[in-house]
Assembly symmetry: C2
Homo-oligomer: 254 residues x 2
């Protein structure tokens, strides 16, 4: 029987300014909450916090929509300036109908509105884009955590995504460093020696989902500490959450 | 800041026989592990355990495949007897190509092979179907837990599902009772008074994912106890995980 997994919210971080070193803020929040971050822990950070620190916030008033953005916005009943920002982050439009714009971002994520939204962004009229390279964000936060604490926990950058076929959003890992994003069971056997049907578990996504359970989206809890997953934490930063992006050719659902 | 969430594996339950009262077995496993199940806890049970208790195990040798099953099996390079069982659980075939058969089950779940597989089923040549009505399974387990412990925790029946666009499987809630499966934030506001983009969180799916982190698929840990989510536990059994099934008409991805 494996050990318990404990998810601790890390609050009291306050509004995050552009240029903030998220790793340092999280280390301070952990200390303030009486927690010590260890090498076998995983730190989960909300995308919104990372985007703010990276200056990925845009003022809609400063956006000049292209004719294509205007056309799409009219068809979808969206703000053309928002659509312009979405298209700027987009590698490929997956769906554009019934008010919904689902795209594949430049970093390979498939999500509504390229992950752009206004919630928890201070100042009306401003929206946050996703980090340009969320795995690089996770690596940088890990390195800041190492500098601040002397330990190198796994890091997951999480965002809420909708899903086909199911109602509601769940948090998934858009970036990660130092955690085995995918636990591959192919070739392993069950208790009876039969090959397992669950061939690969998206650990980083499950960690993101678990962390979301302690976050209150209205209260500003931008991070959580997850304990008990040391077996999935790696010394190397590794390939990150990019390992969870399904190649278009392999995906029956596109 | 909300409280920590703690996920405790409940092992030592052993092989589950047809007719077993899962709620009683879980109550005994909790006691054996020094845990006391409370009204504000959530118990997560693996689909496989529930299917075995409900006698939803089939012997492939006893299945006579129909012509349609034979044809589909040949096209997909699958066992025609397995395909016959899948079609028997199917309301609608969603995809049948490149060796993958994705269907909508009679209970409304969209998943590969109607959720049928052989892993962790004792006796070669036998496979487990999903519970016929996973929300009813969750209600029954809750009632068994109430009888055994005098408390009524939330109950989630979880299974590993693949996802479009992302690699790997995550556990989702195929059934639930006494837990708010969907936490609806529509109309609520962020710290700055702006409407939240995350409109509804699939809590039961996130709980299922969190519980999977303590389960070792090869070791027989069919259940987990999740603490710290009392705010989502309800006295009534409620609508169950059926609340997480997206109506076909509302789903841009079908």
């Amino acid at each position: 029987m494996s050990a318990p997994v404990i998810v601790v919210p890390l609050g009291g971080i306050g509004e995050i300014a552009e240029g903030a070193r998220i790793g340092e803020l999280i280390a301070a929040a952990a200390t303030g909450g009486g927690e010590e971050i260890g090498d076998r822990d995983v730190v989960v950070v909300s995308q919104k916090a990372v985007s703010k620190a990276e200056g990925r916030v845009r003022d809609l008033a400063a956006v000049a929509p292209s004719p294509r953005a205007r056309e799409l916005a009219a068809a979808l009943d969206k703000d053309p300036r928002l659509v312009e920002l979405i298209l700027g982050e987009t590698r490929r439009v997956v769906r554009a109908e019934r008010g919904v714009l689902i795209v594949e971002t430049a970093s390979g994520l498939v999500c509504a509105n390229a992950g752009i939204d206004a919630s928890n962004v201070p100042d009306a009229g401003r929206v946050a884009l996703l980090p340009a390279d969320p795995d690089a964000s996770a690596r940088r936060i890990r390195s800041e955590l190492r500098a601040a604490t002397g330990t190198a926990p796994g890091v997951v950058v999480a965002d809420s995504f909708g899903r086909p076929w199911r109602v509601g959003q769940v948090d998934v890992a858009i970036g990660s460093a130092g955690i085995l994003a995918l636990d591959d069971w192919r070739g392993r056997r069950d208790r009876g020696g039969r090959e397992l049907a669950a061939t690969a578990i998206a650990i980083a996504d499950e960690v993101a989902a678990a962390a979301d359970l302690v976050r209150d989206k209205a209260s500003g809890t931008p991070a959580a500490l997850v304990r008990g997953l040391g077996r999935h934490v790696t010394a190397e930063d590794g390939p990150g959450a990019a390992a969870l992006l399904r190649a278009e050719a392999d995906d029956l659902f596109r």
